[in-house]
Amino acid sequence: MAQHAAIVGIGQTEFSKASGRSELQLAAEASRAALADAGIDPADVDGMITFTLDPSDEIGLARCLGVKDLAYTTRIPGGGAASAATLHQAAAAVLGGAANVVLIWRAMNERSAYRFGQPMVPASGGVVNVAGNGTGSLLWCMPFGAQTPASWEALSSGHYMQTYGVTNRDLGHVSVAQRRHAATNPLAWFHGKPLTLEEHQQSRWIMEPVLRLFDCCQESDGGVALVVTSMARARDLKRRPARIVASAQSIPREVEVISNYYHADLTMMPEARGVAARLYSQSGLTPHDMQLAMLYDAFTPQVLKQLEGFGFCGRGEAKDFVKNGNIELGGSLPVNTNGGLIGEAYIHGMNNITEAVRQLRGTASNQVPHLTHALVSCGMAGAILSND
């Protein structure tokens, strides 16, 4: 067997709309929980990875944890596109010898402090630093009233939806399935609150005629942390490891994060196809080997495009794949069994990774039976995790 890294610890805070404490504290609490879960002394962390957008400082968090000698740090750009990429870079750091115990964290008071869903317009004449956050949204969209992630998503999905006859009602089936999962997940904000297709169709337009309120993920406060180390070390730890069988990033030509409409073929998601090709090539696995997919779901069309990009159905077939119940518990490919960013919480994709780990351990609230392989994807990055 090839040398692999593994996720050996997961931790999180509660998911809320107002955490009432600092983002650094959320990061520290989630990190402490993940390291306790792994059975690793926080002092022994020697690698740290987060998003460029995370507001907490590496040294600030290392001070909380009493890290004795940090050997490696890096940050990943692209908003939520960083989420699954953290696994890829943690595995690379571990297997390349740069670090032995990598702590990944993402913690934010997104809902109570800033709200990504609110319009943003740069100050007139100001200097805009776009490094690491893509360039298209700020420079080319704001003067036209496309000032939110939902607006960029609507523009990038409109051509796909028209080409394959995908209606907003079709998108509703994604929300309904995920809210059903959230309803039986006690960690989810929407625990006990399923959604009907009619309720989805009655929710107000956010981006008419593409996205309604319930096509959008939540806004949340909370923190999530993961611990990655080598499989060799993982075998000596207390938890069943989630082996990182394959991991990859893919940013094909002219693709950008969410304001993603400069690449050649707008009827598909080239970055998901790129990640899929690398993951399947590295692992020798196929879409049929996956029993669970955790797909970044900031907006419902992204789920459809990833289902097609990763080969779970043909191009243009995702709306029927979803409508026919395939992504629900008991379906051919359960998707976002925690409720996802729509149903559980929006911790920038990281809570979809912890759910994959719980599923592989057999400890999820909505446990998928006979699970050996799970895909986690954020479009521009992904990983195949295994418990075998």
């Binding site: 000032q147 607006s151 107000r204 400069y262």
Partner: protein
């Protein structure tokens, strides 16, 4: 092709574009009522968004060319909630594919929502911004 009118600009509320060194020509052209694109002076290919190097031949020699201003709608949406900043009424936001093959985000104006569709043929005009600049927007080509 229309140009920004001083009177209209005085009451304009639309946000100003952000100028960056490599894309300033685009907005400076718009302020003069011209839709401009970046073309490689060596291999003659267009690139948008603008950038300091040709992605095809890696030349640094670039020239600014006047574009036709004709295009079609690739996708469109109306931001209903939250209301966009700088607009009295929610605009029709659209992704436009120009006849030259490049795409840009803009607005479609002088059109009813019921008339909006992907594939609609549109022609450029210019709308003033609150700081006295202008941006390219589009309206349907009359049959």
């Amino acid at each position: 092709m229309s140009t920004p009118e001083a009177g209209a600009a005085a009451g304009a509320t639309r946000p100003d574009p952000v100028y960056t060194p490599d894309a300033a020509f685009f907005w400076e052209g718009a302020a003069r009522g011209e839709l401009l694109g970046q073309r490689c002076a060596d291999c003659q290919r267009l690139a948008h968004p603008p950038r300091p190097m040709c992605p095809f031949c890696h030349s640094l020699k670039r020239e600014v060319v006047r574009l036709s201003g004709r295009g079609t709608v690739c996708s469109w949406t109306i931001p209903r909630h939250p209301a966009p900043l700088g607009f009295a009424e929610p605009p029709i936001v659209a992704l436009i594919e120009l006849a030259e093959g490049i795409r840009l985000v803009s607005n479609v104006v002088e059109v009813a929502q019921a008339e909006m569709r992907n594939g609609l043929s549109v022609q450029v005009l210019f709308a003033p911004t609150r700081g006295g600049r202008a941006v390219p927007v589009f309206r349907p080509v009359k049959a």
